[in-house]
């Protein structure tokens, strides 16, 4: 595994761990999601540089646009949660337990 591959793999895995084990704030989950998208963006750009195929080079930009949409959706949900629950602490997200 080349160093480049290793670096963005580890970046993605770190973001995934942060997403899975978030403790108090919902915002850190969104940040980790953004970090994962960023590592994917870097990986995709480097790979399309290696390929030297012209039609494929626009995919990193499209990925960036979609991750921005994703982040805005997450933020809108965060605002809605803050409006109804009062805070974004994870302990308050327990209305749906059986």
């Amino acid at each position: 595994m080349t160093p480049t591959h290793f670096s963005f793999t580890s970046a993605f895995i770190l973001g995934l761990m942060g997403l899975a084990f978030h403790r108090t704030h919902l915002l850190s989950t969104l940040l980790c999601l953004e970090g994962m998208m960023l590592s994917l963006f870097i990986a995709l750009s480097l790979w399309s540089l290696q390929l030297n195929v012209i039609p494929f080079s626009t995919t990193p930009m499209i990925l960036l646009a979609f991750s921005a949409c994703e982040a805005s959706t997450g933020l809108a949900l965060l605002v809605a949660t803050a409006r109804t629950h009062g805070t974004d602490h994870l302990q308050s997200l327990n209305l749906l337990q059986c």
Partner: protein, 270 residues
């Protein structure tokens, strides 16, 4: 392929406003949990494709050949549709929604990941699929035993059905599609009949006998069909799947699946 990821993201984002239409705190909490899980799964799918691209040079999603990438893709897709062991979001999310949105969530949202699953079917790891399937059927049966809320019962039943669908994927993908179609039909029947009788708990189902007897009879019939009793339609995919499993010399698997079907049948009959 990249378009697959975009399609999954678009479907996730489109469902989110539908879920928060109610302005109830439970609905927004369900929407948040759903969004987080789906976004994680979509990012993992993209990461698996990228890893495969770096290691073997193949970007096409139907020709993923590296075993790590295939495993990761299957895990991400299982998270998306709610297979065990990544099923923990499904009962809570379904509980927080009203019935129509829950219907869309259980049926339409399963179509897109299943299209991807069907495409990567020939390369999959057999042991992983069988483990996922058995675990889903078991957890779907066990978890639904103590539920009184109707939507959670339907959530656990969908987990069990998805377990059945995944088990047969490696051998005969067409059976998976058949099972998916029948499952969609039966689940839509259940949701719509619950919506007509406006019932959200098992206790309120008991009053439908006095209001509209045909509707109560229909609900019972479709419940039994979901459970898979002959001669109703729900028995057909289970029978075919069991037949295929025994053809491939896996009798233990077949026995376990049959017993878990008994578990889910028990809580249907209440």
């Amino acid at each position: 392929r990249f378009l697959a990821w975009m399609g999954l993201e678009i479907s996730t984002m489109a469902i989110i406003p539908l879920m928060t239409q109610q302005h109830h705190p439970r609905a927004e909490e369900a929407a948040t949990k759903y969004f987080l899980t789906q976004a994680t799964a979509a990012a993992m799918i993209l990461f698996a494709s990228l890893t495969n691209a770096w290691l073997t040079g193949e970007w096409n999603i139907s020709q993923i050949s590296h075993p790590l990438s295939v495993t990761l893709t299957i895990l991400a897709l299982a998270l998306k549709i709610g297979l065990a062991p990544m099923h923990f979001w499904l009962p809570e999310v379904l509980q927080g929604l009203n019935l129509t949105t829950g219907l869309i969530l259980s049926t339409w949202q399963k179509l897109a990941p299943f299209a991807l699953i069907y495409q990567i079917a020939p390369n999959t790891n057999q042991t992983l699929l069988i483990t996922l399937g058995i675990m889903s059927a078991l957890i779907g049966g066990w978890g639904g035993l103590n539920q009184t809320q109707l939507r959670k019962i339907l959530a656990y039943s969908s987990i069990a059905h998805l377990g059945w669908m995944i088990i047969i994927l490696h051998f005969l993908p067409n059976l998976t599609l058949l099972n998916l179609t029948l499952y969609i039909l039966m689940t839509s029947t259940m949701f719509l009949s619950f919506k007509l009788s406006m019932a959200t708990k098992v206790n309120s189902l008991a009053t439908t006998w006095s209001k509209t007897p045909p509707l109560a009879a229909l609900t019972m019939l479709s419940l039994l069909s979901l459970g898979g009793l002959p001669p109703l339609t729900g028995f057909m995919p289970k029978w075919l799947i069991l037949q295929e499993l025994t053809k491939q010399n896996l009798p233990i698997t077949a026995t376990i699946m049959a017993m878990t079907a008994l578990l889910s049948l028990f809580f249907y009959l209440r």
